[in-house]
């Protein structure tokens, strides 16, 4: 059985005069125990989608099931078995770490001891601060606490809405490691993120923009389907270089990528011509071929 099935979901906000369409006919399926990433920029509709799946919002069109249960009709049953971590830190700031955990265990009719093995790895990291108020924790620790609270009732599906936004790089890495471990417990995880580099850590990713899904595939599949040659270029004056790269007809696209600019060649055999073009500009530069990664694929998909 599929863990999550979304079928042609559309969501609009606002009255007749000013309608904002958050989701336009989205469909996808998530297998049990899969780590499914929903990647997209701010305002793409990620939060709306999560709220529909966690029964907090009603979609205008389409149907969706979580654990085989309809999100509209069986909302009560779904609320028993999903874990949800909203994008904004939503625990009680004036309760301590331990009090928050106990509180959420109680409202889910369970106890911290009962499912401690599930959250042990995560909670043990914040346990030294268990008497600190949740509002006084650092961003990374808040996320760990929120994840512990979302897991305390051993949910079958976990919804994480932008869990790594506003968290430092080290904590982000740790967070994804925790998610991989949770996967071993057969918990289906849906995670949304605006960071494309996190896509490769998922089993499957859906790229979403302006309420539409651009592609759904495994990270490897996304890369394989790219089929274009990418050149990395570096120079002392990166700004001029980018401007020059954007001018030439040889390239499909050019964009900054870390310390290099990535140039997508229209034709694989054009690498030499690009070198000549840049030499005419008369500044030193460094050029090398590189393999496309998932970000390159998304840049290309979003451009079309």
């Amino acid at each position: 059985m599929k863990s999550v099935v979304v079928n042609n979901i559309s969501k609009r906000y606002g009255s007749k005069k000013a309608v904002t369409t958050a989701l336009r006919g989205i469909s996808f399926e998530v297998d049990k125990g899969e780590l499914f990433g929903i990647i997209g920029p701010d305002g793409a509709g990620k939060t709306s989608l999560f709220r529909i799946l966690t029964t907090l919002l009603l979609a205008e069109e389409g149907t969706a099931t979580v654990d085989g249960l309809d999100v509209v009709k069986a909302y009560k049953a779904i609320r028993q078995r999903v874990g949800y971590m909203p994008g904004r830190f939503s625990l009680y700031q004036d309760l301590t770490v331990k009090e928050n955990l106990d509180f959420f265990a109680t409202i889910f009719n369970t106890s911290v001891e009962e499912n401690y093995d599930l959250i042990k790895d995560i909670y043990s990291q914040i346990e030294p601060f268990k008497d600190r108020k949740a509002g006084k924790l650092s961003g990374g620790m808040k996320q760990k606490l929120a994840l512990s609270c979302a897991l305390i009732h051993r949910p079958s599906v976990l919804f994480l809405d932008e869990p790594t936004t506003g968290v430092d790089a080290v904590s982000r890495k740790e967070f994804w490691e925790m998610l991989r471990k949770l996967k071993e417990q057969q918990i289906t995880i849906l995670v949304s993120t605006p960071y494309m580099d996190e896509a490769s850590l998922c089993d499957k990713v859906a790229l979403i923009q302006s309420g539409k899904i651009l592609s759904i595939d495994t990270p490897e599949g996304v890369v394989r389907s790219f089929g274009k040659k990418i050149i990395a270029v570096k120079s002392s004056n990166m700004l001029n270089l980018l401007a020059d790269l954007k001018k030439t007809e040889l390239l499909e696209d050019a964009y900054p990528f870390g310390e290099y600019h990535h140039a997508v060649l229209k034709n694989e055999s054009n690498e030499h011509e690009l070198k000549n073009y840049l030499q005419q500009k008369g500044y030193p530069f460094e050029i090398k071929g590189t393999d496309p990664n998932i970000e390159d694929c998304f840049m290309a998909l979003m451009k079309n």
Binding site: T54, T55, L56, R79, Y84, P86, F89, S90, Y92, I107
Partner: protein, 347 residues
């Protein structure tokens, strides 16, 4: 915009016309065993003034107490037998004025007006005589002989405090959960939404009980306001009113999206009407009909009148059952509306 421009208009009208401490057309009772020329013309004069309206004529002194307890009349004018004879033979007569002083301001005003009318009559009949007539007025302030202001404001403060604590605080804390995002997580849990709301309301019910106790203790031991009626009844009515306030708070919380909105609605829609229309500051009887009609939907008006009856006048449930029923009806109505409006989802 409407508030900015409409507010002064509404206020001028309300303060200018409706909320006056002046007393008009107050219902009075007359006990007149002598029924002679003097009393008849004196009664006619009283009725001719715009302050008084004779509501009933009674025939014995025993009837006075019950009609005051019913709260129908504000003042009783009692003439002795042989009023005119006394006046003619001894040039001296007595009139007794009994006022319902559970509202000391009104009682004071009324007795002053009545005395003025009587003096006026006395001067008129004396004008062509050498030996002057004297009509002595003897006043009795029922329920509140010392005309203490506390008798008036203790019930009013009780209504206000309970309303503020219950309605405003309940509304604000629930809306706060929405603002903080904690409501979002709570909804995605097996907790029934209704249980969340009840859990938010119970602490304020307890707090209010403490408030009721402290107000009552202070008024009895510090302000010397006695509890003349049954304490159990008073506490029961107060709890009833507290529940009505809680239901109103829940209703506001289901509509308001931010703490400011919740506070604004509580203040404008509840606090102001409570102060102005409950009868606590300004007597409701003198307001024009539209305002009197509006005052009927202000729960505090009914609670205020119950507390006054039970605490100051010392009367039992038989006299306040109507008000109690109205409060119960309001409780059912507002609670039903609040539950119906409670959102099980975010939007």
């Amino acid at each position: 915009m409407f508030i900015l421009l409409g507010m002064p208009v509404v206020q001028i009208i309300i303060f200018g016309f409706a909320l006056t401490n002046e007393v008009k057309n107050s219902k009075i009772a007359i006990l007149d065993p002598s029924k002679d020329a003097a009393t008849t013309s004196l009664i006619a004069q009283m009725e001719a003034s715009r302050y008084f309206e004779v509501d009933q004529v009674i025939h014995s002194a025993e009837e006075i107490e019950p009609i005051f307890k019913k709260g129908k009349i504000k003042l009783a004018v009692i003439f002795p037998a042989n009023f005119n004879e006394d006046l003619q033979h001894f040039n001296k007569a007595q009139v007794q004025l009994i006022a319902d002083a559970s509202d000391p301001n009104v009682a004071n005003t009324l007795t002053n007006y009545a005395t003025a009318v009587i003096m006026d009559y006395q001067n008129r009949i004396t004008s062509d005589r050498k030996l002057p007539y004297t009509i002595n007025t003897e006043m009795r302030m029922l329920y509140n002989p010392e005309l203490k202001g506390a008798y008036n404001f203790v019930p009013g403060v009780m209504a206000m405090v309970l309303l503020l604590v219950c309605t405003m605080m309940t509304a604000i804390t629930i809306v706060r959960e929405k603002e903080m995002g904690t409501m979002e997580i709570m909804l995605v849990s097996p907790m029934k939404p209704f249980r969340i709301v009840i859990a938010k309301a119970v602490p304020y019910l307890l707090l209010s009980s403490v408030n009721i106790a402290s107000i009552l203790l202070l008024s009895v031991f510090v302000l010397d306001v006695p509890i003349n009626g049954s304490l159990v009844l008073l506490v029961f009515e107060s709890l009833l009113f507290t529940l009505v306030s809680l239901a109103l708070g829940l209703l506001i919380s289901s509509k308001a999206e931010s703490q400011q909105t919740a506070m604004f609605i509580s203040l404008v829609a509840l606090f102001l009407p409570t102060v102005m229309l409950s009868g606590f500051m300004f007597p409701v009887e003198n307001m024009p009909l539209p305002l009197r009609t509006v005052s009927n939907i202000v729960p505090a008006k009914w609670y205020y009148s119950i507390v006054k009856s039970v605490m100051i006048k010392g009367i039992g449930l038989h006299a306040v059952w109507k008000e109690t029923l109205i409060l119960m009806g309001m409780l059912v109505f507002f609670l039903g509306l609040a539950i119906k409006n409670f959102k099980i989802r975010l939007a």
